[in-house]
């Protein structure tokens, strides 16, 4: 049996910084291809896992989870083995000082983002964040040796590993959006083929963190889905985050009520899931879901698209927190949808 936490952990271990998703191909394929009928890379856009119901001309359900993660890119190499960098995706500068990274050059090497010692700081300087171009990574190499391994343009990801908190909660880097990728994979892996009413196309798509259109758009032209569910993370309730824009961790996934998504599809998902006894929370994202959905719904002849999201704390830090019960519930939602006749009626 596929264990949720283990799957998420293994997915998180795979580096997939925005723009460098191609590097994940072998590891990802080895990990998840056994759960699909076929697993391939749609050029430039996504890794696609297909599970067919076995009937001809069955409708196609696309479940899109972006697979890229926030990270950095090497912009300069300095004397003493220090690196300058820029961001790939929306970096949170509040967490950068003394944080740990891997630089993905010819080999993977470790580095620490330099923090300024107090005696060199002006009074009150700690209240201010450094600009990214003022930050440096300490690699512990001489410049000459470093240049043999690292080049300008190489990707950089955070170092942090997945770890358990209380109960079903886990923390680590790139939970956004590996946890949703896990939900989609879990659904495809465990759904009974005889009960499926459609073919499932799980797209683990590229470049959401930079363009929010990402590779799912390109992949959709090839797949031509009849309906799509975008699954991504959403804000968990937290002090300073308004209740209306956050949901409760551990109380199930949320559906997005938005002008950018298809309300008929959304309503069907709600009634199917709740009919099957799965609790769904709601987020109201009036004009923009902040996910791939906005772009995906306009692809080709148009794709009815809904968003099923999972609560996550500390978004865009290297210790994002999720509850694995929410991931399992999201997987149940996808399975319920894939096994329903009504969804494509």
């Amino acid at each position: 049996m596929l264990k949720t936490k283990e799957l998420i952990e293994k997915l998180c271990d795979i580096m997939s910084v925005t723009g460098y998703e191609y590097k994940a191909a072998d590891e990802l394929s080895a990990l998840v291809s056994p759960y699909f009928d076929s697993f391939y890379e749609a050029v430039g856009g996504a890794y696609v896992g297909v599970k067919k119901c076995g009937r001809e001309n069955a409708p196609r359900l696309m479940i899109d989870a972006h697979f890229d993660e926030i990270g950095m890119i090497v912009t300069d190499i300095h004397e003493g083995g220090y690196l300058s960098f820029s961001h790939m995706g929306g970096l949170d500068r509040r967490i950068m000082a003394a944080s740990e990274v891997y630089i993905y050059g010819k080999e993977k090497i470790y580095g620490v983002i330099c923090a300024k010692p107090p005696h060199l700081q002006q009074k009150g300087e700690f209240k201010k964040l450094q600009k990214l171009d003022e930050m440096l990574i300490d690699t512990g190499y001489s410049k000459e040796e470093l240049e043999k391994i690292v080049s300008i343009g190489d990707g950089i990801g955070f170092y942090e590993k997945t770890a358990s908190l209380l109960g079903n909660r886990i923390c680590g880097r790139s939970m956004d959006n590996k946890c949703c990728a896990a939900a989609a994979i879990l659904a495809a892996a465990t759904v009974e083929r005889e009960k499926m009413e459609c073919d499932i196309y799980v797209t683990l798509s590229f470049r959401e963190e930079e363009s929010m259109a990402g590779g799912c758009v390109m992949a959709s032209y090839d797949i031509k889905p009849d309906a799509a569910i975008v699954t991504d993370v959403t804000f968990a309730r937290f002090p300073g985050v308004d209740d209306y824009e956050s949901v409760k961790m551990g109380e199930g996934p949320a559906v997005s009520l938005s002008a950018a998504t298809d309300r008929r599809l959304t309503n069907k998902i709600i009634s199917l899931a709740e009919g099957a006894g799965i609790k769904l929370q709601r987020t109201v994202d009036a004009t923009n879901t902040g996910t791939n959905a906005s772009a995906l719904c306009m692809c080709g002849d148009g794709i009815p698209t809904a968003v099923v999201s999972v609560p996550l704390s500390c978004m865009h830090t290297y210790n994002e927190i999720i509850d694995t019960s929410d991931i399992e519930a999201a997987a149940e939602v996808f399975k319920t949808v894939a096994c329903s006749k009504e969804i494509f009626a």
């Binding site: 003493g80 083995g81 220090y82 929306g90 949170d92 500068r93 509040r94 967490i95 950068m96 000082a97 003394a98 944080s99 740990e100 090497i109 470790y110 620490v112 330099c114 923090a115 300024k116 010692p117 107090p118 005696h119 060199l120 700690f126 209240k127 201010k128 964040l129 440096l136 300490d138 690699t139 512990g140 190499y141 001489s142 040796e145 942090e160 590993k161 770890a163 358990s164 908190l165 209380l166 109960g167 909660r169 923390c171 804000f235 309730r237 937290f238 002090p239 300073g240 985050v241 308004d242 824009e245 961790m249 902040g290 704390s313 500390c314 865009h316 830090t317 290297y318 210790n319 927190i321």
Partner: protein, 357 residues
């Protein structure tokens, strides 16, 4: 379980252990296990330190104390909210840039729980505030509890906390070490290794040497003050870690010390003017034996030497510090060669003091 180790393994074990200021018991236990069989007597220390004596051969009645502190920077639990999130007070200064996002360990020696220093998502920070670090009262420790009741089973008000951070060897040929608490578990490891070597060869020892692993340095409270008052040493050597600013772009004049160029000997810092004779002896031995060491180039910081120096009738003190990048963060970074040369230099200095006695 035998926790007796040496070399990098000893350093790793010490750094990974939980021991914020005022809560050093776990580190003390680990040290006791590692010095077993390498001393003549354990001296009671009311401040919670571990003090071990290796007796000299009686040639002199002078006493020498070696000192490193066991505690590390940390924080303390202040409040547990209804939603299970935990508010804390910093015991490591006000710079939240090195706190937000980190994994932490919270609790007391017999009950430890993992948490994350959680902050609200950057997407919800007002545009105008995006250049500001997270205010400390907007960072909460999330242990994964969903209510106060659940959290209180694992964490209580007044509990201690530190960073959780891996011990990593990295850089060219693995020449750098990164861990939490290298300040000052590196000093503790050095003293343990020194004890083992000296005790195995103790017939040559002229001084009574006290090895004091002490508490509460990071808060400036100096648990060592009482230890020194009790021991009454004539000389003290303090082993520490010191901030450096040796990164790219910092002018030479501002580089306090440089990692990889040996232990840093201080002439003076913000709290202590070091004993000239003892300091010169260290510098001389370094030169004669060709063991690298450097002079700390900036009058900054301070350490337990200030408390030892002013204890009882006064003590002649010197300090050797490992140059440490990003000190007081979860990512202290030192050069392995500095640790090794400091160990070597310490033995050479003790040997010279023996000869001089």
């Amino acid at each position: 379980m035998n926790r007796k180790t040496e070399g990098i393994d000893l350093l790793r074990a010490l750094c990974l252990e939980f021991g914020p200021s005022g809560c050093e018991d776990r580190v003390a236990d680990l040290i006791k296990e590692n010095i077993e069989g390498s001393y003549d007597e354990l001296i009671e220390d009311r401040m919670g330190g571990v003090v071990a004596l290796i007796r000299g051969n009686g040639k002199t009645d002078k006493k020498l104390m070696l000192n490193a502190h066991m505690d590390e920077v940390g924080f303390m639990v202040r409040e547990i909210r209804d939603d299970g999130l935990i508010c804390f007070s910093s015991m490591m200064g006000p710079d939240t840039r090195i706190m937000a996002g980190r994994k932490v360990t919270v609790g007391v020696p017999e009950r430890l729980t993992r948490g994350v220093m959680a902050i609200k998502p950057v997407h919800t920070v007002d545009r105008g505030d995006r250049d500001k670090s997270a205010p400390i009262d907007e960072i909460y420790i999330d242990i994964g509890a969903s209510s106060k009741e659940e959290a209180e089973k694992y964490v209580k008000i007044g509990d201690y906390g530190t960073f959780e951070s891996d011990f990593v060897q990295f850089g060219e040929n693995g020449r750098m070490l990164k861990a939490k608490a290298l300040d000052d578990r590196l000093g503790c490891a050095l003293m343990i290794e020194t004890m083992r070597k000296i005790y195995a060869n103790k017939d040559n020892l002229t001084y009574d040497v006290y090895f004091a692993f002490t508490c509460r340095e990071e808060l400036g409270m100096g648990g060592v003050k009482c230890t020194a008052h009790k021991v009454r040493p004539d000389y003290a050597l303090v082993f520490e870690a010191t901030a450096v600013a040796d990164i790219h772009g910092v002018p030479e004049v501002s580089k306090v010390a440089v990692r990889g160029e040996g232990g840093a000997v201080s002439i003076m810092d913000r709290h202590t003017v070091y004993d000239k004779e003892l300091t010169q002896l260290i510098l001389d031995v370094s030169k004669e034996k060709d063991i690298p060491c450097q002079i700390k180039k900036y009058v900054s910081g301070g350490n337990d030497a200030s408390h030892i120096q002013r204890s009882a009738d006064g003590v002649k003190c010197a300090v050797i510090s490992a140059p440490c990048g990003y000190i007081h963060t979860a990512s202290d970074v030192v050069a392995l060669s500095d640790y090794e040369s400091m160990c070597e230099l310490t033995l050479a200095v003790l040997e010279r003091m023996n000869e001089n006695a």
